[in-house]
């Protein structure tokens, strides 16, 4: 079965970089540019893992994770953040961990750290995207 990663970020460059890295590692990549779009994609396609940014228009990463876990509680999410003026990426990603995300990834991403998080998460979580009835 294809291993499919849904990348959720409003930054088109991030999509290009993550897509290039993940596809070269044998993953199929789907794209969404905010949380709402991510939920639409997940409603129509089966994914192995969601790679999601925190700051996005329309629906931010925290709300997106809550909504994903309400519908697909076993679908792993790796949260990305570059932080902001008030919170470092580490603080923000700790918050995300408390909300149940599988792993946090500080921006900017690179191949080594991205693949390490993705592979660790997929190995640990045995991901299944199943709708809860």
């Amino acid at each position: 079965m294809d291993r499919v990663i849904l990348v959720v970020d409003d930054d088109p460059i991030l999509h290009e970089i993550a897509g290039e890295i993940l596809e070269s590692e044998g993953f199929r990549v789907m794209h969404a540019y905010d949380g709402r779009e991510a939920l639409q994609v997940l409603g129509a396609a089966r994914c192995s893992l969601v790679l999601c940014d925190v700051f996005m228009p329309n629906m931010d990463g925290f709300e997106t994770v809550q909504q994903i876990h309400a519908r697909w509680p076993r679908l792993p999410v790796v949260m990305m953040s570059g932080g902001n003026a008030y919170q470092s990426p580490a603080t923000m990603l700790n918050t995300a961990r408390l909300m149940g995300v599988s792993a946090g990834l500080a921006k900017p991403i690179n191949r080594e750290r991205l693949m390490s998080k993705i592979n660790e998460t997929l190995a640990a979580d045995q991901p299944v995207q199943e709708d809860i009835a």
Partner: protein, 122 residues
């Protein structure tokens, strides 16, 4: 927006830039750079338009885009300015003009630094 940075970050963090280059196949990296360099002036145009109508939400949104682009490429000074704009409260008309002016100064330097970094080592 009026605070002075004690130590300005570099225009381009070559380590981050080269790390990104190493993460991608050369044609993809070249396309990414082209996307970045094409988008910098477009965003500047949009920023000027938002600044001229004191559109704080628009300026903040453009700063967010600048920050994402700049962060990926290691354009540290542009990223720092964009981050400050994004997090300035309130973003009143004078802060908007100051933000636009800061980006106007740094964007061309960033483009130049990236162009230099793309050239082969002598």
């Amino acid at each position: 927006m009026s605070e002075v940075l004690m130590e300005e970050p570099p225009i381009l963090d070559r380590q981050r830039f080269d790390e990104l280059r190493a993460s991608c196949a050369p044609p993809v990296f070249n396309a990414l750079v082209e996307t970045f360099t094409d988008n910098l002036p477009l965003l500047l145009h949009q920023l000027r338009a938002c600044a001229s109508r004191a559109d704080a939400d628009g300026v903040r949104s453009i700063a967010h885009q600048y920050r994402g682009f700049a962060g990926s490429f290691g354009a540290k000074r542009l990223e720092a300015i964009a981050s400050r704009i994004q997090n300035t409260e309130p973003l009143d008309p004078s802060a908007i003009l100051e933000a636009a002016a800061a980006i106007e100064v740094v964007a061309p330097d960033t483009l130049e630094a990236i162009t230099r970094a793309m050239q082969p080592d002598p």
